[in-house]
């Protein structure tokens, strides 16, 4: 199948390679042409041109504005794709913006799935991403073989926007867990106890979690090089709090964690791993 891909960062790049390895013909577009230089894919001049060549197009970019730009703006996918084409957006954006983009694309008969992912760069490389999809169930079934090249757990959450809501929930739980791990490590260290031993013991009990495993390990080694850049979690927390506000839902813990992320950004650690929440406590 002719598959398009927009956004060739740490997530997008390994995803492109998996799709290509599965026998698909890849077409790519990126703002900086050099990021596509060594990929086994045809480079396109604009998203519209890429859209003309492809039945299915993935977008993996940073913000709601970025997704709207490549889909709806002049020379966007909307100007190139044929009716019945499918746009799969794996970025993390605001649910209402995903709904808006879906509605605009549907005026040209183009389908849209919001399909944000969890699992980070490692999950993208290992093709073990969790994929949470919002949109028409039949459309998801059509593209499921493509998604199966990228991830293990593919769940249809509901209509457009529902995938992004699930991703917001994912971020709330994950980053709060990182903060909890950071506080525990900080307490252990201040009390003169070996953090590595604490983490090892906890991993066998009720406090065991993926975050304690991966992020806890980084905290013990004091390795703050990014897995996931903390600035992205900071961005996502802006989305979560906005969604909570629009629904009138109190999220006291999320709001507190968001303040720790603000402090992290102020310290200049936005491009480091979110395990840096430990360093915020030490600052």
């Amino acid at each position: 199948m002719n598959v398009g891909f927009i956004g060739l960062g740490v997530m997008g790049r390994p995803m492109v390679l998996h799709l290509q390895a599965a026998g698909h013909t890849l077409h790519v577009w990126s703002r900086r042409p050099e990021s596509a230089a060594d990929l086994p894919a045809t480079r396109c001049a604009t998203p519209a041109e890429l859209g003309r060549r492809c039945d299915v197009v993935f977008t993996v970019v940073t913000s709601s504005d970025d997704v709207e730009q490549v889909t709806l703006a002049e020379d966007g996918l909307i100007e190139g794709m044929a009716p019945e084409g499918v746009v799969i957006d794996c970025s993390t954006i605001a649910p209402e913006r995903a709904r808006h983009i879906a509605a605009r694309l549907s005026t040209r008969g183009i389908h849209f799935l919001d399909a944000p992912v969890s699992g980070g760069a490692q999950g993208a490389i290992d093709a073990t991403l969790a994929i949470m999809a919002g949109g028409d169930a039949a459309v998801l079934e059509r593209v499921r073989p493509l998604l199966a090249c990228l991830g293990k757990r593919i769940v249809h959450i509901g209509p457009n926007g529902a995938g992004q809501v699930a991703k917001a929930c994912n971020q709330m739980i994950m980053v709060a867990a990182i903060q909890a791990a950071a506080e525990a490590m900080h307490l252990a260290r201040a009390a003169g106890v070996d953090c590595g031993k604490v983490r090892e013991a906890l991993a066998g009990g009720s406090a065991a979690s993926r975050v304690l495993d991966v992020m806890g390990e980084r905290m013990v080694r004091r390795d703050f090089a990014a897995g996931i850049e903390a600035r992205l979690h900071h961005k996502d927390f802006g989305l979560v709090l906005e969604a909570a506000r629009k629904s009138g839902v109190p999220v006291p813990l999320t709001a507190t964690v968001a303040q720790q992320l603000n402090a992290l950004m102020a310290q200049g650690w936005g491009k480091d791993d979110t395990a840096s929440l430990l360093r915020v406590l030490e600052a």
Binding site: L241, G248, V251, T256, Q259, A263
Partner: protein, 288 residues
């Protein structure tokens, strides 16, 4: 002075009336024509659009709900503006939005001041508002006579946006202040102690504040009539939290307070005064 006034709601109407009382010549515009009637009765002239409210005037003032409204009416003002016009927005909006509007107006040759107020409807009627202004010295000097008809404590804080930064700071202090008094009262009652007596004792010490005195009394009287509606306080705290997010600024107390106001709006207390946060606390601890 010839002044255009845009937005005649709970705050705007008494403010505009005080300008008429102060001898200024007013042209008014409001989205709903019937809101203009009290001003026309007082001798003001009606404009057909924000642009017309600016035409031929030295000063134009807006008092509307939110940043998009301010941007929209100021687009009209720019069209109707004569050279040397000073535009003043007294609504509460984000500092960044105020700066953007100031820049856009500057391109049209209009000098802009952000001048949000504190003091509520009571202060607006009495002409005793606190006015915190951001903008150039010259524009502030030109607007000052109008400010003096509407307020008492008038401070030129700094450059464009500085007024809104001050208002946001005001909402941090009042938001947490109301919550602090409500928590103290919830604490007293759960311990079987009389709130009225606690308030009276605290008023003499370091916990004294205008909020303890006035809002505290209304909590004791269980008078939750606004005043200042809690959904508006939630909106203002959202400006604070959004700005903190953009700047990378850690505000844990404000964040916790904003969530309480968020819960108030979600649980149907949005139209009550912000002191109804006491009801929320009582519900959470089974004191209802």
């Amino acid at each position: 002075m010839k002044i255009g006034f845009i937005g005649l709601g709970i705050m705007g109407r008494p403010m505009a009336l005080n300008l008429v009382k102060g001898g200024h010549e007013l042209t008014v515009w409001a989205r709903r024509a019937e809101s203009m009637q009290p001003l026309l009765d007082a001798g003001a002239r009606a404009a057909a659009s924000p642009a017309e409210a600016a035409q031929g005037n030295e000063l134009v003032i807006s008092m509307v709900a939110d940043a998009p409204d301010v941007a929209e009416v100021m687009r009209g003002v720019a069209q109707g503006a004569a050279p040397g016009l000073v535009a003043v927005d007294m609504s509460t909006i984000a500092p960044a939005a105020a700066r953007r509007i100031g820049e856009t107006l500057a391109e049209a040759g209009v000098d802009f001041i952000d001048a949000p107020v504190s003091g509520g409807e009571v202060g607006a009627i009495a002409g005793t508002l606190s006015i915190m202004a951001g903008g150039s010295e010259a524009a502030f000097a030109k607007a000052r006579p109008a400010f003096e008809c509407m307020g008492k404590n008038i401070v030129h804080v700094g450059a464009s946006g500085a007024g809104q930064v001050t208002k946001a700071a005001n909402q941090i202090v009042t938001g947490m202040g109301v919550l602090a008094v409500a928590e103290a009262f919830a604490f007293a009652s759960k311990n079987g102690v009389d709130r009225d007596k606690v308030r009276e004792a605290l008023l003499g010490g370091f916990a004294y504040s205008r909020i303890l005195e006035n809002h505290g009394q209304r909590m004791i009287d269980r008078n939750f009539k606004p005043g200042f509606k809690s959904w508006m306080h939630e909106k203002d705290l959202n400006i604070v939290m959004q700005t903190a997010h953009e700047l990378g600024l850690c505000l844990p107390g404000s964040a916790a307070t904003a969530q309480m106001f968020n819960a108030m709006v979600g649980s149907g207390l949005g139209e009550e005064d912000s002191i109804a946060v006491l009801k929320l606390l009582e519900n959470l601890s089974g004191q209802a």
